[in-house]
Amino acid sequence: MRPDIDRYCELKSPIHSWDPRLKILTLAILAFSISSVSRITTAIGCLIISLCILSLTRIPFSFSLKRLAAVTTFVGPFFIVMPLTIRTQPGDTIYFFSHLRFIEINARGLLLAGMVYIKAVSIVLLVVPMFGTNRFDISIKALEHLKVPNSIVQMILFSYRYIFVFLAELKRMSLAMKVRKFAPSTNLHTLKTYGNFLGTLLVRSFERAEDVYQAMLSRGYTGTLKTRFEYRTKFADMVKSTLIFAAILGIIYFDRFFKGL
């Protein structure tokens, strides 16, 4: 039920004390520049920067590890698909199985998948410093201050909240199925069960979400989140952002224009 990402928002660290608006803006730009990187050496550099920022937050690494698991399930298949499907270029190293000559494994594909993975990890690691170092409503309000359109802010707010509603319902219902000896296999019964399960899950989550919304309305929620947090930019905040921007410039320079390595 409860938003989980801000579990460690009460810790003290240079990242925690950073003005949330500036922090989100700066780290978002950093994330975008990481995604534009096209060399594996720069990608590794980005990973190190992300890790440094993360370790500054003093949030236990295990907390971020859960998020990494999600990345791995999405990006993992690239390691299989890319070496097999990438177009062969002159100078590529190709491996064959001795008797399955039609399957070509391109080493450059493997490298590319590795780079995609490192980039994804570096970006995902930034999520915790971005949103995990302030209370969630303060982060959301910061988005409003940054002139993100209200409809998008609300969408983020509610989808984030409802994910937990959804997961709680999912857990409860799958337990009830297990208790009645359900074991998935390849037959019509399994298919039908999944259909019903999904339908009920959506209906229940919707009903629950509506309850939450009505409870919010009853307490005077009007569509804009109000918090009493004072957003102030101090000199130290500017310094922190400047440092990150310097790093961003470094990344871009190294990735595009540096000829060595």
Partner: protein, 266 residues
């Protein structure tokens, strides 16, 4: 009750005239409700499943807009322009505390209402602390609500509404799923609130302890309005509304030995 006695039942605080409501799927939930509730009254709203109890209370704080008829709360018609004022006047405590607690700490949850009502900074803290104190949760202020026990969450949900200092409070099953100890605590709290109250509950003993007046809904209409004393004396009426709970005592109180034991020892 001490705070409550000075409030005389004086002016009407809620008036409902000819209220109709039909759900989008076409089922009529309310079919012409006329009702006046006086300031300081405590009302038990009873009726079978689907008689329209929840639909009715959700009209009083403007979650549902009447499609026909009108509602006035403390002189203000419940319309879109007045919604914010209405919601400050009418506090609503839902049955499931988990739908009402959505912030990271108990303090934030209790402050959510007052902050939305644009209460002054200094006053917010005071109100939150008062509300939590009243519910006996002041020590737990900085804990995440989902860490609390069910009984505490139920009281926390109440604190979130109390901090808005409403004139009217509406409760949907305030004691459901509570163990007897928490039930007793909750009943005591309910009967000491100096507000106009509307209670929906299956639990006759709790209604009996907290309300003076009973409104019976049946099929979207008001069937009867009567005093609590008259209501509980009418066993057929209790039975019709599924509230005859005396069977629970058949065994434990019927056994003369046990009954005597209960009477003497408990």
């Amino acid at each position: 009750m001490k705070e409550k006695s000075p409030i005389k039942e004086k002016s009407p605080i809620i008036t409902i005239k000819n209220l109709h409501f039909t759900y989008p799927d076409g089922t009529a939930a309310l079919r012409g409700i006329d009702l006046t509730i006086m300031e300081g009254e405590s009302i038990a709203l009873v009726g079978k499943n689907g008689s329209g109890k929840s639909t009715l209370i959700k009209h009083i704080n403007g979650i549902y807009q009447p499609e026909e008829g009108e509602i006035t709360v403390d002189g203000l018609p419940v319309t879109r322009e007045n919604l914010q004022k209405i919601r400050a006047l009418v506090g609503m405590v839902f049955q499931d505390p988990d739908s009402q607690l959505f912030c990271s700490t108990l303090y934030d949850d209790v402050a959510f209402g007052p902050i939305n009502m644009d209460v002054e900074d200094g006053l917010v803290e005071q109100r939150v602390k008062n509300a939590l104190d009243k519910m006996g949760l002041l020590d737990l202020m900085n804990r995440p609500p989902h860490d609390l026990s069910f009984g505490q969450r139920k009281r926390a949900a109440m604190a979130t509404v109390l901090s808005m200092q409403p004139k009217i409070m509406i409760f949907d099953e305030p004691t459901s799923n509570l163990d007897p100890k928490n039930e007793a605590v909750m009943t005591e709290i309910l009967s000491s609130l100096p507000v106009t109250m509307i209670l929906i509950s299956h639990d006759l003993p709790i209604l009996y302890q907290t309300c003076q007046k009973v409104i019976i809904l049946n099929n979207g209409r008001i069937d009867q309005i009567l005093s609590m004393q008259d209501f509980i004396s009418d066993i057929t009426l209790l039975r019709e509304n599924g509230l005859d709970f005396t069977f629970r005592c058949d065994e434990c109180c019927h056994d003369p030995k046990h009954h005597q034991f209960l009477h003497e020892n408990l």
